[in-house]
């Protein structure tokens, strides 16, 4: 049943990738802001979760604290940094890049270089027999969380006025503003939610992949790959990209560990050659 195990591994990894990349891609769609500090936000979420779960023993408390703290961090950086260079995408990218380095390095300074693991609560720990495959229960929970988040985000985007506003902003932000919507506030709201999401994901991911220095760039690059494949700005694209990359990583690390990264990145580069905006990317 090795293949089943591998596929299940891949799908649960996809779940984590979707959790990381959904906020990232919606934010890009709305404001064309590519937040390269996203990985650092994730890492700080992980470390905060590690500390809080360690101190209180409550996994849920860890998630809440990480979400709130990273949301506040997101709000602060949005107001203090990103707004100053809005409309200049390259400056924005470099700014978030610099911020990512600072946050990543400070995490190393505060929490040291040893790999850590966030403890999974007993309720969702242990393993489960599934059609003859023994599989960690926690990973299945993670996959379920990702599916629920996808459904919730999709409903918000498609079924609510807020979602329609966000999609309108993706289509034509200036026009939306000309109809009376404060687009800056909308963008800040989306950015803060996206930060909270990635902060919480840091805790969930920290219990899956562990917490270690360099994890920020690892997760950022994977999120970048996911949203490039799916198309920047597209939620459905992020879901498709997550599943593809999750499965590639899982299959690749079993069958061709030496060329794992080649297997991940080569299709991305090829895809971008033929479809420069990804599978479902938003137009200019």
């Amino acid at each position: 049943m090795q293949i089943g195990q591998t596929i299940l591994n891949g799908l649960t990894y996809s779940g984590l990738l979707f959790l990381v990349s959904s906020g990232f891609t919606v934010m890009f769609g709305l404001m064309r802001v590519l937040n390269l500090a996203h990985g650092a936000f994730y890492l700080w979420g992980s470390y905060l979760g590690l500390v809080v779960v360690g101190a209180t023993g409550s996994f849920l408390a860890g998630i809440l604290v990480a979400a709130v703290a990273i949301a506040v961090l997101g709000l602060a950086t949005e107001v203090a940094l990103f707004r100053r260079v809005r409309g200049n995408p390259v400056a924005e990218v470099l700014l978030t890049l610099g911020l990512g380095f600072v946050l990543g390095d400070l995490a190393l300074a505060f929490f040291g270089g040893n790999p850590e693991q966030i403890a999974v609560p007993d309720l969702i720990g242990g393993s489960l027999d599934l059609f003859g495959i023994t599989f960690p229960r926690y990973r299945l929970v993670l996959l379920a969380v990702a599916v629920v988040l996808f459904v919730a985000l999709r409903f918000t985007l498609v079924g609510t006025r807020l979602g329609a506003l966000i999609r309108a902003g993706v289509d034509d932000a200036e026009m939306l503003e000309g109809l009376g919507t404060n687009i800056n506030r909308l963008a800040t709201g989306v950015f803060v939610v996206s930060a909270a999401l990635v902060g919480a994901t840091g805790v969930l991911g920290g219990a899956f992949l562990g917490v270690h220095p360099g994890g920020d760039i690892e997760i950022l690059v994977l999120a970048v790959v996911v949203v490039i494949i799916g198309g920047l700005g597209s939620l459905d694209g992020a879901a498709i990209g997550s599943v593809l990359i999750g499965l590639l990583v899982s299959v690749g690390s079993v069958f061709a560990p030496e060329f794992l990264y080649f297997i991940i990145y080569a299709p991305v580069i090829l895809l971008l050659f033929f479809r420069p905006r990804g599978l479902l990317g938003v137009a200019n």
């Binding site: 390259v90 610099g98 380095f101 920047l232 030496e258 080649f262 990145y265 580069i269 971008l272 420069p276």
Partner: protein, 331 residues
């Protein structure tokens, strides 16, 4: 070939003449730098050697970033490819430095061509992302394919040319090659080729209307950039005599961008100044703190927020202000 309009032919000598001053300045600087080993200890000479090599690499990055408007986040891959190829040829086939170096530089050009082709249709933020993926691909192969590349342990035992094996003679070797490369780059920048690259940076549509393919110009830029990054890679491998995946990693690419942006993206020598500040800054600060990446990040943020045109831009603005004042007094 597109026929060159008459007016352009007339302008070429003027452009050449305007190259004489900076070229002469560079020759003077080379003479001065040549005497350095008589003034400094081995550590200082080593630091200057590294600065020269990575400075050349930063200038080669600026062929893409500044001259052509393509912000690449994968330029460490070009540097690293050349260094790894040199190391592998020396270790596995027993080639000498001078036998392996041309192949290594050719490999850097080849990978640049691949990069150019795969990024041919992307621009702006998408270009940044593709180059990030390109860099990670090369890094991933180097880091994972440990049976060949040694993985995270890297490759040791890179041999310098026999005549330049001491720290000071290798410094001279690096100095003259970097100097020659910079002169070549400067002449390229001031030639028709450089003019066309700036053309596709500033108004790609107009250049396309004039019959220049943007894709071809980009390919040219990648080739020039890749060639000199390859030269820098060979020199770097010979200098450190060791190569590991960290030379290929994003952090290295970003450090290159930092040199370019800090020094001044719109200036030829800017990235060189950036390299001096970054490498000397890191060497100096490493005595006090391990938080180099934090400092690098903060500098990057500050330069993006406040530093229009980097140090070179600031110097230019300052010298213009001084000149204006002098002229004002004279009147």
């Amino acid at each position: 070939m597109t026929p060159i309009p008459k007016g352009t032919v007339v302008r070429v000598p003027g452009r050449l003449r305007s190259s004489i001053v900076p070229v002469a300045a560079m020759v003077a600087a080379l003479v001065l730098l040549t005497s350095l080993p008589y003034l400094l200890q081995a550590y200082g000479v080593g630091l200057v050697t590294e600065t020269l090599i990575l400075g050349l690499w930063a200038v080669s990055l600026n062929v893409l970033a500044g001259q052509t408007g393509l912000i690449s986040m994968g330029h460490a891959a070009t540097l690293g490819t050349s260094a790894y190829v040199l190391a592998l040829l020396q270790r596995n086939l027993g080639w000498s430095f001078f036998q392996a170096a041309p192949v290594a530089v050719a490999a850097a050009v080849a990978i640049s061509v691949l990069f150019a082709l795969s990024a041919a249709r992307s621009s702006g933020v998408y270009f940044i992302l593709v180059t990030l993926a390109q860099g990670m691909l090369v890094w991933g192969v180097v880091q994972r394919w440990s049976s060949i590349t040694g993985g995270d342990d890297g490759l040791r035992g890179i041999v310098r040319p026999e005549a330049f094996s001491d720290y000071y003679s290798y410094y001279w070797f690096a100095l003259w090659i970097v100097g020659a490369s910079l002169i070549a780059l400067l002449l390229i920048q001031r030639s028709q080729i450089g003019l066309r690259l700036r053309g596709i940076r500033d108004s790609p549509k107009r250049m396309a209307a004039l019959g220049y393919s943007v894709g071809t110009q980009r390919l040219v830029a990648f080739c020039i950039s890749g060639f000199f990054a390859g030269v820098a890679g060979v020199l770097y491998a010979g200098y450190v005599q060791f190569i590991s995946p960290s030379t290929v990693y994003v952090t290295q690419s970003v450090e290159g961008l930092l040199m370019v942006i800090l020094g001044g993206i719109n200036s030829f020598f800017g990235p060189l100044i950036g390299a001096v500040v970054v490498l000397f800054g890191r060497a100096g600060l490493s005595l006090f703190t391990e938080r180099w990446l934090t400092i690098m990040g903060v500098i990057l943020i500050l330069v993006v927020l406040f530093g229009h045109d980097g140090i070179a831009g600031r110097v230019r603005a300052l010298s213009q202000a001084i000149r204006r004042r002098i002229r004002g007094r004279a009147e």
